[in-house]
């Protein structure tokens, strides 16, 4: 066992234990660590936004290099604050309209490509998928799963005849999906706990290497 001599490691260990103390019940140590985290996060974000965004992308080009075109984004940005003055509140619509228009134009074709075209393509059965029996079987299961889940979410027709068993099969596929997601969530949370214990037992207490 070799205790760390780094004061920052001790501070991190103390804050970790403060957060863990919530497992027993809410207490002043937990509240201290929680408030400290919120404060530090907010401060860090403000600092990084200034140094990384506003200063190099607006202050330098506009005020140091004298590039007057940058007045346009400055005015657009400032017009967000027009909401606080009812008389000129309508000005906020300009930057919102710009962002919506630009954002939609940039994203919609890419979304279509990523989530509809390529995913539909991947669901179709083609000869190449059946070169090996297992890949063919999985491709078939995916196709059946997609169709049954889509039928489950098809609300314009009463569920009778073939629609009923297909929708029920769709529920099974959905439940399998939820189960997989939940399993992965448990795995993720245990990983976070392992990470903290590796820090406490390794970096801080020096029990593990």
């Amino acid at each position: 066992m070799m205790l760390s001599t780094d004061p920052w490691v001790w501070l991190a260990a103390f804050l970790t234990l403060c957060i863990f103390s919530f497992l027993f019940r809410d207490n002043i140590f937990y509240q201290f660590a929680e408030h400290l985290f919120v404060g530090v996060s907010a401060g860090y974000l403000i600092a990084i936004t200034w140094h990384n965004q506003i200063y190099p992308n607006l202050v330098i080009p506009l005020f140091r290099q004298g590039n007057v075109v940058y007045i346009i984004p400055l005015l657009f940005g400032l017009s967000y604050f027009a909401r606080f003055i009812p008389k000129i509140g309508y000005l906020v619509r300009f930057p919102i309209a710009f962002l919506l228009g630009w954002g939609s134009g940039a994203a919609i074709p890419a979304y279509f490509q990523r989530d509809i075209l390529r995913q539909t393509q991947g669901t179709l059965l083609v000869r190449d998928m059946f070169t090996e029996w297992d890949s063919g079987l999985w491709a078939l299961i995916i196709l059946v799963g997609v169709i049954c889940v889509l039928i489950y979410f098809f609300f314009s027709r009463e569920r009778k005849g073939i629609m009923k068993p297909a929708a029920n099969l769709g529920i099974i596929f959905l439940m399998l999906g939820f189960g997989a997601s939940f399993g992965y969530t448990v795995m993720s949370r245990i990983s976070l706990l392992i990470g903290r214990f590796q820090f406490l037992l390794g970096t801080w207490l020096g029990i593990i290497r």
């Binding site: 860090y44 965004q53 992965y184 245990i190 590796q198």
Partner: protein
Amino acid sequence: MNIVQSFTKIPRQVVFVTIALAVMIPLIIPIGLPVRVMPKSERLFHAIDSLGPDSKPVLISCDFDPQSMPELYPMLVAILRHCFARDMKVLVMALWPQGPGMAEMALEQVPREFNKTYGEDFVFLGYKFGVTAVLLGMGDNIQGVFPIDYYGTPLDSLQLAARVKNYDDLSLVVTLSSGDPGWRAWLLFAQSRYGANLGVGVTAVSAADVYPYVETGQVLGLLAGMKGASEYEILVQENGYSEGRRSAVQGMDAQSLGHLLIMVFIVLGNIGYFFMRRQK
């Protein structure tokens, strides 16, 4: 109340303590349970392994924060080791404001293990705000988006960065992502729009969401959570690329025992529930 009924009323403190013990004990006394490498992790490994010193650089985006460190940081270290062992050039960047801290920690450690030089073998671009504009801008001109690196050096004065114009000059983009912005944005803009080759490492929570894109080939390979990280660490070691510390592999015994215990609690809870319902 009989024993079976008490299964539904186990105090939560008991659950916490037993889970803590199940995780802590294997970390102190390792059991050495085997870890099987999954095909999706192997695919990413082979995608990087097929590259060499003459290939175009690899871009790694650290889109995570300290909260996801146990899952994603070992991936970053293992991928860096793999790239440097194969003498590949690496660019590192972040879409998360906390990402540079994670990247800097790895870049202080791994390049030293392989005697790599900053500017020639690797460059750290840092963090840039504005996901869509950043990723679209990089498709046109990376230096336009990152005129200077993380340390304030102009990019055109760095030998490696000067010869990378856009995604066409990269052999692979790997995003280590714990949410948004992350793999979805890279897939949306870098892969779907510019056709960049994309590898993904995610926290286990998001892994199930990436699967459909791996199936269609939009994502070349996937590392899922600490398990994915441990698989990559194993592949890097088995192929003789590095003997460095493997923190994800170290956590796998604890992971398995933790899962086992949770399964036991779920089964016990269900048994208790069914018996109680039958009695009613």
